[in-house]
């Protein structure tokens, strides 16, 4: 009877794991792709995420809820990936770590909403790549993966305040970028018109 129970247990673990795979593979891939901007890399990262989680299960740990755990592993792998690349942008990001105090304005969720309302989502998405990863990470988690501030704070191992500030700042940067782009486009258009006139 004991043997049967354990096999049941094992098959139960397997089914739960595969279920989680079916449920989250797309979301994880999306997140990874936006972060690393490389399709194959993103797939590899998702694969590694699942194999790591599987190994974790094999070690006898229990996973009550797969989603935050998967995101955590994925996030760590993405950071590893950045480290491997040793890109300048990362160094730049690291430098910015110290300024995360945040004003009252930046800490309020409602102001985030007000701010977000002023941004064109479609344009913003295309500009996500240009965002420093520190901001990109939380914005993706917040608006693409639809995680709550608390979940995000657990994931990135920062306080909720810091997460809120990052989201706020990220959105601000996005707006600036959109505005700059718009301005640039406007200028180009005007210049073109001028040129046409001449």
């Amino acid at each position: 009877m004991a043997g049967k129970e354990t096999t049941d247990n094992v098959s139960d673990h397997e089914t739960r794991f595969l279920k989680a795979f079916e449920e989250y593979n797309d979301a994880l891939f999306r997140h990874a792709l936006i972060r690393v901007s490389n399709r194959e890399k993103a797939i590899d990262i998702v694969h590694d995420t699942f194999t790591k989680v599987w190994s974790y299960l094999r070690d006898g740990y229990e996973i009550d809820s797969f989603r935050p755990f998967l995101y955590k592993v994925l996030n760590n792998l993405i950071i590893d990936e950045y480290r491997k690349r040793k890109e300048a942008s990362l160094d730049a990001l690291m430098e910015m770590e110290g300024v995360d105090e945040g004003s009252f304005d930046e800490l309020s969720e409602s102001t985030v909403e007000v701010l977000a309302a002023t941004i064109d989502g479609k344009k913003a998405f295309d500009l996500l790549e240009e965002l420093p990863d520190q901001y990109r990470e939380v914005i993706i988690l917040r608006f693409v993966d639809q995680l709550g501030p608390k979940e995000i704070s657990e994931l990135v191992e920062e306080t909720e305040n810091i997460v809120s500030v990052r989201i706020h700042r990220g959105l601000k940067i996005l707006r600036q970028k959109i505005e700059a782009k718009d301005e640039y486009a406007e200028e180009r258009r005007k210049a073109k018109q001028k040129h046409e006139k001449i």
Binding site: T6, R16, R30, D120, G121, F143
Partner: protein, 473 residues
């Protein structure tokens, strides 16, 4: 905000794995899982969520477990329920119950089928017949025996007795003696049930709740009688009693059963009934002994006696097993007590004494009558009674004959007393009676009642005491 996040989401959702990529990724993960299987010893999961939905099939073949153990468990449970519980519960069903069909068409048929011995088959058919009648009684006692139900029971009685007859006929080919014994058994059962049902009818009539209840039982009784009639002819045609050995074996079997039943009834049935039944059993034992003794001298007679003993044992068994029969019919009418010789002698002497006392009373009274005509008549009566008394004292014949003679003497004495009552001087009689003759007569009466308490005493007319005489005047 909503717009932004929605737009962002819509845009983001355009980013997803292509089907091929997804398939490949899945294969990679699954193969990793296969190469790194979970250890057999796993910790219990806190929230075991059963997940079966797995829409995307990775392999062309999918395997699933057939839960043999639970299928077996449930089917075994169902089988037990159907084969053991239901028939067991059904045994108590009466016509009109949902499980009655199970009882009659499954339980009983199964038992018939499983009985291979022809003699046992006859017995079983008899038993079924008894059951049908017992059910009818139960229904009748609850006032549920409708005419239709009664007709059904009557039909069942016909079927079962016909079956029994058929089996007996079959048995006759193999074993003449066994067939005769079987038919004796069947016949005594039928007779008893018929008597009992008729007795019920009478009871019902007495109670006043006549027409409704007596009709179906009558129907059943007539069905039983119908079943009996052809048998009696048959019994006449094969009048030779069965072989001694087989008879005695059967009788032994029946007596054993009687004693078993008796020990089972001890403490359950009222003591009075037990005494009655024990007495019958003793009678039967005596009769068997007599028959055994007779066997050496007169085998044919011994067999005939054993046949009657067999009938008695059968009746006694039916009486003991069919509780309803006890309620409606007196044991004495079913199986009369057979008195031992000493008991017979005691009864004889009692009767003689009684008659002598009456004679003394008559003589005493006669002296007080002045009318010569009456005196002559009484004298003639006295002479007759004297003769009868002499005849009684010399009698060596059976108790029945003795009783008849005694009865005629009693009648004569009573007549004489009646005559004397009209002419005797009343005041003197009353005074005298109280002084002299009343006491001994009363004593006799008491003795008589004590001794005959368990006997039929149909013929025994209690002596007319002087007080009765006075009362009637």
């Amino acid at each position: 905000m909503k717009r932004f996040s929605e737009q962002l989401k819509i845009k983001a959702e355009s980013v997803k794995l292509r089907a091929a990529e997804k398939r490949e990724l899945r294969e990679r993960v699954v193969s990793y899982m296969e190469y790194h299987p979970l250890p057999a010893e796993m910790k219990a999961i806190k929230t075991p969520a059963k997940i079966v939905t797995n829409k995307q099939l990775a392999e062309p073949f999918t395997s699933f477990q057939i839960p043999f153990i639970s299928i077996f468990k449930y089917s075994a449970f169902t089988a037990v329920l159907l084969l053991l519980v239901v028939p067991f519960v059904a045994e108590k069903a009466v016509p009109g119950d949902a499980l009655y069909a199970v009882k009659v068409q499954f339980n009983e048929e199964l038992r018939s089928t499983l009985t291979f011995d022809t003699y046992q088959k006859v017995e079983w058919e008899t038993e079924r017949l008894n059951r049908r009648i017992a059910e009818a009684r139960l229904l009748a006692s609850e006032g549920r025996l409708t005419e239709a139900a009664g007709a059904d029971v009557a039909e069942a009685v016909r079927v079962h007795s016909a079956n029994a007859q058929r089996e007996i006929a079959e048995l006759r080919i193999e074993d003449e003696d066994a067939a005769t014994i079987a038919s004796i058994t069947l016949d005594s059962t039928l007779e008893l049930q018929s008597d009992s049902l008729r007795g019920e009818d009478e009871l019902a009539l007495v109670d006043g709740k006549t027409l409704l209840t007596d009709r179906p039982t009558n129907l059943i009784a007539s069905a039983i009688d119908e079943a009996r009639t052809p048998k009696e002819d048959e019994a006449l045609s094969t009048s030779t009693p069965p072989a001694y050995g087989k008879l005695i074996a059967r009788v032994e079997q029946n007596t054993t059963r009687i004693y078993e039943l008796l020990s089972a009834l001890e403490g359950v049935a009222p003591a009075k009934d037990l005494v009655e039944v024990t007495r019958r059993a003793e009678d039967i034992n005596r009769a068997i002994e007599e028959a055994v003794n007779l066997y050496t001298t007169d085998e044919a007679e011994a067999r005939v006696r054993l046949v009657t003993v067999l009938q008695r044992t059968q009746r006694l068994i039916t009486y003991m097993t069919e509780l309803e029969v006890i309620k409606t019919i007196d044991i004495e009418t079913l199986i009369p007590v057979v008195l031992t010789e000493s008991e017979q002698d005691a009864q004889k002497s009692l009767l003689t004494e009684e008659l002598t006392q009456k004679l003394n009373l008559i003589e005493g009274l006669e002296n007080r009558v002045s009318d010569p005509e009456v005196r002559a008549k009484v004298r003639f009566g006295i002479a007759e009674i004297d003769n009868i008394l002499i005849a009684m004292s010399q009698s060596t014949t059976s108790l029945e004959v003795f009783k008849e003679v005694a009865q005629s003497g009693m009648d004569l004495a009573d007549d004489s007393l009646l005559l004397l009552e009209q002419f005797v001087d009343l005041s003197q009689v009353t005074k005298d009676d109280k002084g002299t003759s009343t006491t001994p007569v009363d004593e006799t009466e008491e003795v008589l009642i004590e001794d005959l308490v368990s006997t039929s005493s149909d013929e025994t007319v209690l002596p007319l005491t002087p007080t009765d005489v006075v009362d009637s005047l």
